[in-house]
């Protein structure tokens, strides 16, 4: 029957899709880094850091924070229209962010922040 053939094809499709997802998800998943280990080789990669906020500056569109862990510190830029957060100095946060180059300095552009 045609339906049986469709279901078998659908099953093969799904298995192929699962295989692709399993293969690619590791390369998409952001890896945890010590701040000191983030270098220019990580440009445009998504990384995860954990640290405490040592400085917060706000503009109309951005929140610019300095985050420090045991190894170093880095600037983390947060777009206000993408994140609605109440951040305070001294707060420990986990940040998933893209590594960017801003005027020769490495910074992180936040995708997701967990307080």
């Amino acid at each position: 029957m045609l339906e049986k053939k469709l279901l078998i094809t659908a099953l093969i499709c799904s298995l192929a899709g699962i295989f692709i997802i399993l293969s690619i998800s590791e390369s998409i998943e952001a890896k945890k880094y010590d701040i000191i280990k983030i270098t220019k080789e990580n440009l445009n990669e998504n990384v995860i850091i954990t640290g405490s906020i040592i400085k917060i500056t706000e503009t109309d569109e951005l929140i610019i924070t300095k985050v420090k862990d045991n190894t170093s510190q880095i600037t983390v830029v947060i777009f206000k229209n993408k994140q609605k957060l109440d951040l305070k100095e001294g707060q420990i946060i986990e940040v998933e962010a893209k590594v960017i180059d801003y005027k020769g300095q490495l910074e992180l552009q936040a995708n997701k922040i967990k307080a």
Partner: protein
């Protein structure tokens, strides 16, 4: 990450079931809502997971949206042309067969899209400037051919084409009108057909769940047309699946009603998937769901595209099973309901949705398009000329 992807796929499939089965609720509406709430969602999950949700919803929608189109006579732009041959089969007690034919198109076009998308992307990207130059002439030729082919009355075919075309131009250029295609196509292909069914006291015969056989040659023709026409509309502006169906049916002739249903089903799914490829290759978004993904995911990388293609394969498998099950339920129920009452309910639903989404101007457009949509049926002329509502604006877009 895998758990998040799985949850996003399940939620996306559920959302796609709602948008696919409920007339008037489109994935663009849900995609816009997701973008509006993205600031909140980013606290829970990452952008790529939200993109997985949107594509899961979009692909499921393309599988299921032919069910209300064929069984309830309530089409969207993408499924407008499926109403005509689909309704013919429904009146013969073969509504389930019509759905399965579109499902064949959807599933196999999905596989073809995943396999051939890199090649199609390179080809279309290179021939894009040439195609844009001749598209106007090509569409004029296709439209003229369709009118000349009309057996009953070429004059009336031309009049209907031009009336629908002028209405299409006016509607698409109307300022501050939300979702202009919704009242336009609902009237031309949906409410007009429902009113005719009420007047003619149409009864839907008992639907049969039969052993369906398809001609392999016709299926191959329909799928190859779907690939060519679908690739064009995924990468070129101003064209959608409905226009692609017209072009596709002219690329390979003598498809018949069954082949045409495979073509329409295939185009719907294929153009959605290739739109994501166009986002990666051309950095251009060609439909609402892709626009939402481009706003949520800043940098759409090759790895993101490969993940999306993997997700479409999984969702295609799930949606195939859902389509078969749900269409069997519809087949069982449709002949048990009072069809006149069902038609009236659908008309009320469409009018209400048009009023909410498009406002009073939308109601006016719905009324006018309904009256125009009734004319070909009363004259015994092909309703395909009503596609002038989209063809004429696109011809002018490419020629002026």
């Amino acid at each position: 990450m895998l758990l998040e992807i799985s949850i996003a796929i399940i939620l996306g499939v559920l959302a796609g079931c709602i948008t696919g089965l409920v007339p008037g609720v489109h994935i663009n509406l849900v995609s816009v809502l997701v973008v509006s709430f993205s600031a909140l969602l980013f606290q829970i999950t990452s952008p790529i997971i939200i993109a997985v949700f949107i594509i899961s919803m979009a692909v499921t929608h393309t599988f299921l949206d032919t069910i209300p189109s064929i069984f309830l006579g309530a089409p969207e732009e993408e499924t407008a042309l499926s109403v005509l041959p689909g309704h013919k089969l429904l009146l013969k007690g073969k509504g389930y067969e019509a759905i399965i034919l579109t499902l064949v198109g959807s599933l196999f076009s999905l596989i073809i899209a995943v396999i051939f998308s890199p090649i199609m992307a390179i080809i279309v990207n290179n021939v894009y400037p040439f195609l844009a130059k001749i598209m106007g002439i090509l569409l004029i030729t296709v439209s003229t051919f369709l009118i000349v082919k009309e057996k009953k009355s070429r004059m009336w075919a031309l009049i209907i084409f031009l009336m629908a075309g002028v209405l299409g131009i006016a509607t698409l250029n109307m300022p501050k009108l939300e979702s202009p295609l919704f009242p336009l196509l609902s009237g031309l292909f949906g409410t007009s057909m429902l009113i005719i069914s009420i007047i003619n006291k149409t009864n839907i015969p008992k639907q049969q769940i039969t052993n369906i056989k398809i001609d392999k040659k016709i299926t191959a023709k329909a799928l190859s047309s779907s690939l060519v026409a679908g690739s064009l509309v995924s990468f070129l502006p101003g064209l959608g699946p409905a226009q692609a169906a017209i072009i596709g049916s002219q690329i390979t002739r003598k498809l018949g009603d069954r082949g045409f249903l495979i073509l329409v089903g295939g185009l719907n799914t294929l153009s959605m998937i290739l739109s994501f490829v166009a986002l990666y290759i051309l950095d251009k978004a060609r439909n609402g769901a892709v626009v939402a993904v481009s706003q949520i995911v800043d940098n759409f990388t090759l790895n993101n595209l490969i993940l999306m293609l993997g997700v479409t394969l999984v969702v295609g498998g799930i949606a195939t099973l859902l389509t078969i099950k749900i269409s069997k339920v519809f087949s069982t129920l449709i002949s048990k309901v009072n069809y006149k009452l069902l038609c009236i309910s659908i008309i009320i639903l469409i009018v209400s949705l048009v009023a909410i989404i498009s406002g009073p101007i939308g109601i006016l457009i719905l009324a006018v398009s309904t009256f125009i949509g009734i004319i070909p049926a009363e004259l015994g002329i092909g309703r395909n000329h009503l596609m002038g509502c989209l063809l004429l604006p696109v011809i002018l877009f490419f020629t002026l």
